[in-house]
Amino acid sequence: MSLKERVANILKNDLLEITESKGDVCVEISRQTLVNALKRLKEEGGFDFLSDLLGIDNSDLYAKPKKKKKKTEDGTEQEQEEKGPPPPRFEVVYLLLSLSTNERLQVRVRVPEDDLELPSVTSLWRSANWPERETFDMFGIRFNGHPNMRRLLMWDEFQDYPLRKDYPLEGKGEERHLNYNIA
């Protein structure tokens, strides 16, 4: 039984979409069933190791195909674009690993911009502690149930979310607002 089939068996109805690129299997599940699905993947599927967790800001990706429609025709996202309204702006990807079979699985969850909340998976894997904090720090996605939902890399007074696509590379000049006493 291939990885895809096994995962589909475990997730059953929770599975929204399953894709594969270069051998990496990626499944999409909904926000509501996230913790439950991950728990089943951990206990039944043997994906007992959380490698990492990351956020992605898709706003550029969905803005692009309109401009470049004629040039490229092969992006999968592009097809979705044509089917219906653009999907939620953010997504969070969980990189799972099965220690027994050495298979890796990506699980992704979409998070709409107007409701930036996700359940925390720190109860399943404690390794999600800092990655969740970092995702909050960089994208502003809040994880409910996290023991210490504070900024990780940026300082606490920092207002913006730097890894969002609309945050400029040079920054917004935050450091200039620190009150230095330069005579």
Partner: protein, 383 residues
Amino acid sequence: MAKEIETVCITTGPTEVGDYVTLNIGPIHPAMHGTLRVITKTDGETIISAKPEIGYLHRGVEKLGENLTYSQFLPITDRLNYCSAICNNVAYEMAVEKLLGIEVPPKAQLIRMIMMELARIADHEVCVGILGVDLGALTPFFYLIIQREEIYEIFEWHHGARLTNSMGAIGGVEADLPDRFHEKWPRMRDSIRKANDDTDKLLTHNRIWMDRTVGVNAFCGDDALNWGFTGPMLRACGVKRDLRKNEPYLLYDKVDFDIPAGKHGDVFDRYMVRMLEMEQSVKIIDQAYAMYKELPEDAPLMKKVPKILRPPAGQIYHAIESPNGELGFFIRSDGSDKPYRIKIRPPCYMVYQAFDDLVKGEMISDLIACLSSLNVIAGELDR
């Protein structure tokens, strides 16, 4: 449970917060490797809690990655774990190659293996040496650092840089092994072994060293996996997991080597695992070098790749075994010449977040020993 934390100090000690001393270790402190900071609460010398604060070296590497082309990002990866920059380079190159769907020629793979194992030795030498320094034994550090200098010399011959290597390119490596490597390696193998031997004699069976390391910060395998430990840290806890064996990449499945593993996950086991891994790395280099010798001299070093890389859209995650553990690159491509999103999974990031659990109930001296044995590299931690 990770360990039986002595309940005496927690239950019958002073209970009010004000009774503890808050000791701010770092970001500027002689024992901090890079700019790390730990806020500790201590009862006398016993640590009640230790909260690591990170981000002092945050340079937005991931954001930079989104704004540079695939080839331009390569030198940035040097600045992650600067003790073994080659492993970062190769990990990134391999991730992009996976995205592009190309396989590099065997000669390039062997050169990458040799260089990576040399980098691994250099990294472990620094880690073990610094651990010694932090526990007060300064001399082994110099024995090891001299060997590291020799390794850096090889790096310099091969690609011109010593610390921030930027070795290779996407699609292979640009240069063959330097001529001087062939005569240097047999001598260097002996000197590396001798330096390790001297360190071993000075430290391993030293009573003070054992007192300071055996049983300190012991951690069990299940907890370590739950916390996301990888690499020497995980192996010290008794879990034999090494990506070179479990998910072979390059030509690691063709070489014969062992995975050294500890039992208790204490500082001593981590030290021993690193010491033994250096032995294994020497063994791997020997085999890889023998395989390299069998290849014809004009075998290709590079796979033909276009000048401007435009990988097809998709997202991949590729991890290799860096000296510290699983170093992974998650790349999403949207078909353009720049990665849409790059996420680096640094190994010591996952280890360091468990720091509070590791050192709770131990003493300040053990905190320093623990920190050194974790080999936390600030560049990799904060990215």
